[in-house]
């Protein structure tokens, strides 16, 4: 008796509750109960067979006690696996959906198409209208869960977490993507821990493997590593702005808006009183045609000031690596790379930095790249067009002088 059974969700242990029973016939009912148990057993036997989209279980060695019946499962059960939605936790500033949310919806669309499922966005705020969320539909969203309430005007960690966790329990997303914004970086680990699932930080790519498991790519230790969350669901990842392109908007696309209620009577132990956004000073890193980035090789604050001067004379955005930030030479907001900013200048000049991938992945599609480092073996020299092997503290002042001469020549002729 081959029994075909369709299951609406991934049956990982993240959601151990009884499954909704698809279909109505008794055969389906039992089959669904059996596959539920069978999958748990198979899941222990081998984690991979569990996740393929169409699998055949041979369960002849087991006897299942299903409700009041004992089912001798000596027959073959064919299980058709369907996936929960791909989620994006959206973010808005003054009701405008932020860029990274649209970029994530674009990638979520690709993933959802491969999984044959839908893209859903959770967007919390206040005073949002249909026009505000249309860009999400145009980017590929099928459904938007919208919370529109004065209580959601500012990001409130406990309330936002609670609403997302509750909805995730109902919708059971297969994948949940969150922008590496100040909000996302706090919210993501809170939601992940509450859902008892894994979370990968600041991914630079997201692809599905042959078993439809999300490979979450991060740079590490001179290479790229792929992180997977094989058993728990949803598979969660944060991604910085600029990792994925902004999708071409398809204004003909529409979708469904589902309004969310704000839970009442929740005691919040933490309260966001105000959010102050300041205008950044100087040249914007993300839009600057020239980016100068400095690293530990600057040696000290005097060395760093020379790099600053180089950036200034080139009217360049000044970026940094984590060691430079750790030294206290410059603020965290200037850090380029996996957990910082993504830049795409015409010219990139890396000064006194070794070329760690965590930094280098932050430079996307630069036309010309230059590195200055006193160690000829530094990995950075494998990733640029022009290399200067020299002590940056000595070389940078000379370079500044030459640039100045060049600029003066340009002016006179």
């Amino acid at each position: 008796m081959p029994v075909k059974c369709s299951l609406g969700i991934d049956k990982s242990q993240a959601f151990p509750a009884d499954l909704p029973i698809p279909g109505s016939g008794p055969e389906l009912f039992y089959a669904s109960r059996i596959t539920h148990h069978a999958s748990r057993i198979t899941h222990h036997a081998s984690r991979f067979t569990f996740h393929v989209s169409r699998i055949t279980f041979h369960v002849s060695r087991f006897t299942f006690h299903v409700s009041r019946f004992t089912f001798h499962a000596s027959e073959r059960i064919i299980m058709e696996h369907t996936y929960g939605p791909v989620w994006v936790i959206g973010e808005q500033v003054n009701c405008q959906v932020v860029t990274v949310s649209l970029q994530l919806v674009g990638r979520a669309r690709t993933l959802a198409d491969e999984l044959n499922t839908s893209v859903e966005v959770v967007l919390l705020g206040n005073h949002m209208t249909d026009e505000h969320v249309q860009p999400l539909f145009a980017a590929g969203a099928d459904r938007i869960y919208m919370g529109n309430d004065p209580a959601l005007e500012l990001y409130q960690p406990e309330l936002f977490t609670e609403m997302i966790v509750k909805l995730a329990g109902d919708r059971r997303p297969e994948i949940m993507l969150i922008g590496s914004t100040f909000m996302g970086r706090e919210l993501a680990p809170l939601v992940a821990a509450r859902l008892d699932t894994g979370l990968t930080a600041h991914c630079i790519d997201l692809v599905l493997d042959k078993d439809k498991i999300l490979e979450q790519i991060i740079p590490a230790y001179g290479g790229l590593i792929s992180i997977v969350c094989p058993e728990k669901r949803p598979q969660m990842a944060t991604v910085s702005k600029g990792v994925f392109p902004k999708p071409d908007p398809d204004e003909t696309r529409t979708g469904e808006i589902v309004m969310l209620d704000v839970p009442t009577g929740m005691t919040q132990r933490i309260n966001t009183l105000e959010i102050i956004r300041e205008e950044p000073e100087g040249v914007s890193l993300e839009s600057a045609p020239i980016v100068v980035a400095g690293g530990a090789g600057a040696g000290d604050i005097e060395g760093w000031q020379k790099i600053e001067e180089l950036a200034k004379i080139l009217n360049a955005g000044l970026g940094s690596t984590r060691p430079a930030v750790d030294e206290g030479w410059i603020e965290l907001e200037t850090m380029i790379g996996q957990s910082g900013k993504m830049v795409s200048p015409e010219l990139y000049i890396g000064v006194g930095l070794s070329g760690e991938l965590q930094h280098m992945v932050g430079i996307v599609g630069a036309q010309v790249m230059v590195a200055v480092n006193n160690d000829s073996k530094a990995p950075v020299f494998e990733q640029v067009d022009y290399g200067i092997v020299d002590d940056c503290r000595e070389f940078v002042p000379v370079l500044i002088e030459k640039i100045r001469e060049h600029q003066e020549k340009q002016l006179t002729c």
């Binding site: 821990a193 590593i225 010309v368 070389f395």
Partner: protein
């Protein structure tokens, strides 16, 4: 009395971090070749704790999870001014992702006793996930503020802090007990003093393993980690480098010329 817990992590010295390789068999990091140091932003957390203790009656407990060598990190915190040190060390804890790390630390913190303020660095220089602080808070069921750059008010049970937010900040009001993850902007950490090192000699480090925490091996370490490393690959560069040779002057001049020719020197 204010009970402060500082979470400290021993990380590979960032200066030598590029020597670290991934073990191809276990797909975890081989850290042993590189000296371990106290994570930079944990120093800011430690400094914040010391300043709180200078202002009011407080006890600072420092806790770290790691191999036995991580005991040196705990010792460093004791020398900086922590009152008691705890090291969670057990082969079963190895290979933990952020989730399992936070879970284990939370169990350790519970075992230490009552706590009011838990301080963590915003991120570690090696893992860079930023998840451990917020997930400790979740496992202890207390609130968290990440990326704290200023403590505005800390007199009563309701604290006010400013958290970094790219350009700008958010002002948060939070009820203790709570977790705060701190950024470098919060303070300038002091350096070790000789007298501190002498005093630290008398302070004990308590070491706890799996059995001391009363946990099963399934809930910690690699087994307790929802995420695993599935694959490693190398990144091939698409660029071919031209090393510019000559005297310093020559090199600078050639570079400017090449960039001008390429039309990228605006």
């Amino acid at each position: 009395m204010l009970n402060i817990v500082v979470c400290a992590k021993a990380v590979p010295d960032p200066k030598d971090a590029c020597k670290i390789k991934i073990d191809p068999a276990t797909k975890t990091l081989m850290r042993c070749e590189v000296p371990m140091v106290l994570n930079q932003m944990d120093k800011n957390a430690m400094e914040a704790a010391i300043r709180m203790k200078e202002q009011s009656d407080a006890r600072i407990s420092v806790i770290s999870m790691g191999p036995p060598q991580a005991g040196n990190t705990v010792k460093e915190c004791l020398a900086l001014g922590a009152d008691q040190g705890f090291l969670l060390s057990d082969p079963a804890f190895g290979g933990a992702d952020a989730y399992a790390t936070a879970y284990t630390l939370a169990k350790g913190i519970e075992k230490i006793g009552p706590f009011d303020v838990i301080l963590c660095g915003m991120a570690s220089s090696d893992g860079s996930t930023e998840w451990v602080g917020p997930q400790i808070a979740t496992f202890l069921d207390i609130p968290v503020v990440t990326m704290v750059r200023e403590i505005v008010e800390c007199e009563k049970e309701l604290w006010k802090v400013k958290a970094s937010m790219g350009h700008g900040y958010r002002l948060m009001e939070v009820k203790l007990p709570a977790v705060f993850t701190v950024t470098r902007e919060l303070n300038q950490p002091r350096t070790l003093s000789f007298s501190g090192i002498i005093k630290a000699r008398k302070k004990e480090i308590t070491e706890w393993g799996l059995n001391d925490l009363g946990e099963s091996a399934e809930s910690v370490g690699l087994k307790g980690s929802p995420t695993i490393v599935s694959d490693l690959r190398t990144q091939d560069s698409k660029r071919e480098v031209e090393i510019i040779e000559g005297t310093r002057e020559d090199k600078a001049e050639q570079l400017v010329q090449k960039l001008a020719d390429a039309g990228v020197l605006a």
